[in-house]
Amino acid sequence: MTASSNDMKSSRRAFLRGALAAGGTVAGASMAKAAGPDPLITEVQPWASGLGEGVDATPYGLPIKFESDVVRRNVEWLTADVISSINFTPIHALDGTITPQGCAFERHHSGAIELSKQDYRLMINGLVDRPLVFTYADLERFPREQHVYFCECAANTGMEWAGAQLNGAQFTHGMIHNMEYTGVSLRTLLAEAGLDAAGDLSDKWVYVEGADASSNGRSIPMEKALDDVLVAFKANGEALRMEHGYPARLVVPGWEGNMWVKWLRRIEVTDAPVESREETSKYTDTLADGTSRKWTWVMDAKSVITSPSPQAPIHHGKGPLVITGLAWSGRGAITRVDVTTDGGKTWQQARLAAPGQKMALTRFYFDHNWDGEEMFLQARAHDETGYVQPTKTQLRDIRGLNSVYHNNCIQTWWVKPNGEAENVEIS
């Protein structure tokens, strides 16, 4: 990889320039013509004659260096420091639905802690027949379940309430990830402690709390606790990452991410909500008249086009274009996604890559033949309850401009003739 490879590089660049110029003059569906033979094909490349890396060069593999810009990013001005802060999943660069753990967004209140399995304890107390303590090894002895669920921060898209602010799907919609969890249902653990002492369960709650210094705690109604809540210890087949609550976290399907307590250490059965800091001073939604909604747990149906988008512009000029994105709903499965390229004058149904799963991300594709003119791209999600993702105007009409959380409005990307895209609001 010395002098000759540099020569090769420059000739490759020349080739690419030639192809681009040629491409500009090619019309419609006809194929681009090469300016000359492609040296990547006609010349023997170093990787085709030399040897690659041996096994074990990287005992735990990371993405190849060419993908090093596909990483979580934070927005510095959002928070006072990086300890009590949040970053964003690079959804603009991913496809499929499963979020790799290494680039799944993080949200901490006192930083990500290193808590070993040996030091892990989970307590169940309160209105139970037997207050219990489980070790990590104990958790692995309960019958397990597996589910794919999205986890979305209630503040996802929150910076866009007052207007178009952040220029990229990662920043406007990246407080979300979607993983396959393995764990024990909370129902099973509560049965182990016994709920006889709780009496009538219809007005009971569980208070869940983490082991970190913030000991983030949330109150969850018993109905949800016994429905589909999981205590998860594996995600996408492997142990949870430190930043996602290793060794065990709560999974609260379809409900705001703050309730998915990480480093879960305690579950208390109570007869009333605790009204903790994160369910009063935060994660409440102030309306135009100054009153605020509380207990807004469910994440409404939402979608976003991930590509093209400001961080994923079109480089190939007009012609066949894959428009793709994600849709999800906290109330159930996505049944349909509509896409418009003209800012909502005309809509067409997108193709779901697979039938929607309850409380999990759904990938959609809209195969488009781009004429090279500007586009106003939007997607609109429908879920199985008949809910249709609203416009920002519809949301503002009801909630005003003072909310931060639960912004599930339709997002607009303005794609310009040069292929660049920008976050805009339109009439």
Partner: protein, 413 residues
């Protein structure tokens, strides 16, 4: 409430039946049960019997859980973790604290982020003010203007504060700090004493400002209409653009750094003959130095040379400090002073930073930061500098302190 409240299907006939029932109500993707358990459990499970029928497990011994996994939590263990406090005062320990003591404690532990008057510093939460702003643009949400319950303040301060040294305050201190926050919001007088006994007598102004999620009635009907698909509007105009605001993090720097790194890597590959000896040289020097030099001469020599392994370890430990302190290129004073050149500098010697009185006085009397006093300070900040504003408990491990010292030295040469 719906059928999902079903926890146990049948009358209790033992753990296997209950386990089976729990499986029956799990709605999806449950892995198959062991065959034996299913057979045993089928007969007694009766889906028609609702959750109100309680399993007869209360009379069994505590260790006799449905599966018998885990152990009973001891009362002192429950007491250690079960510290949540509710709006009606449930969970409060006995104790009391007054506004004046709260003021002192607040200045010591809280003001560095929340401001002397709880008005907030930089992006850190503002705890006072904002009265009457909730229906205006950019409402200021503080304890006085927004929080519904005093219990939330007490509980949060008790479990999560001070930032970086949580769960270090005594109940009396938490009562005092809570009293001061109430005072800062003009809700109590300066002679007020808050205790577990008068706790529920204090009502916050916005206690009635919350309503339970009403989206089901206010939004779902509106947002469940079949939408327009064709000829939905005549014109589309841009009303706002994100690039005009220009607040998106710049990602070109990261990309350029990566490209530069790649270019550098190629350059290194191209000139291996030069690179290798150059890299080997310092290693030799380091290895020889201790052997050749007399112990007395070692100190000054070592001062000029860094143990890069220790510096790297220090960089990791410094994450504990990075919430408040910056160091390195472009470092600025933040919640704490920046630490470039801190070694050898007088205590409280960074211009433009508002130090505690003690820290400033120590510096004025000629004390400069050295490895020795830095180690003492980092082990127990409040013991070495009484009244320091640094709300950090200290580093417990000597090797972490040594690593931080080496790391700071690397920015002090």
């Amino acid at each position: 409430m719906s059928k999902s409240l079903n926890l146990y299907g049948g009358l209790a006939v033992g753990s296997v039946a209950m386990l089976t029932a729990a499986y029956n109500f799990a709605d999806r993707n449950v892995t198959p049960m062991p065959e034996a358990a299913r057979v045993l459990g089928e007969a007694p499970a009766n889906p028609d019997i609702g959750f109100m029928v309680k399993p007869a497990i209360a009379s069994t011994s505590p260790s006799d859980g449905p599966l018998g996994i885990g152990r009973v939590a001891l009362p002192e263990e429950v007491a250690a973790w079960n510290v949540d406090v509710r709006p009606d005062g449930q969970g409060l320990p006995e104790g009391s604290g007054n506004v004046s003591d709260g003021d002192d404690l607040f200045q010591d532990y809280c003001a560095v982020c929340h401001g002397v008057f709880a008005e907030g510093v930089d992006n850190w939460p503002k705890l006072a003010g904002g009265s009457g702003t909730l229906d205006r643009e950019d409402p200021l949400k503080t304890v006085g203007s927004y929080w519904p319950y005093v219990s939330t303040v007490w509980d949060y301060v008790h479990r999560s504060m001070p930032f970086g040294n949580a769960q270090s305050l005594s109940p009396d201190e938490v009562y005092a700090i809570t009293a001061y926050i109430l005072y800062s919001n003009d809700l109590v007088d300066d002679d007020f004493v808050l205790s577990n006994e008068n706790f529920t007598e204090v009502t916050l102004p916005n206690a009635d400002g919350f309503l339970v999620d009403d989206r089901e009635t206010t939004e779902l009907p509106v947002f469940s209409q079949e939408p327009c698909m064709e000829n939905c509007k005549d014109t589309v105009e841009i009303t706002m653009r994100a690039t005009v605001l220009d607040v998106t993090p710049d990602q070109t720097a990261a990309r350029e750094a990566f490209e530069a790194e790649q270019a550098a890597a190629q350059a290194t590959e191209a000139t291996p003959a030069v690179a290798e000896p150059a890299a080997a040289a310092p290693e030799t020097a380091v290895a020889e130095a201790p052997a050749e030099e007399a112990p007395a001469a070692e100190a000054p020599a070592a001062a000029g040379r860094l143990d890069m392994e220790l510096v790297a370890a220090g960089e990791k430990v410094f994450k504990k400090c990075a919430a408040c302190h910056q160091v390195g290129e472009g470092a600025e004073n933040k919640t704490g002073p920046h630490l470039n050149g801190v070694m050898g500098r007088p205590l409280g010697g960074m211009e433009g930073f508002n130090y505690s009185k003690t820290m400033a006085e120590m510096g004025a009397s000629g004390t400069v930061w050295s490895e020795e006093n830095m180690a003492e300070f980092l082990a127990k900040p409040r013991d070495y500098v009484k009244g320091t504003k640094m709300s950090f408990a200290g580093l417990r491990k000597d090797d972490e302190i040594a690593a931080i010292n080496e790391y700071l030295k690397s920015f002090s040469q």
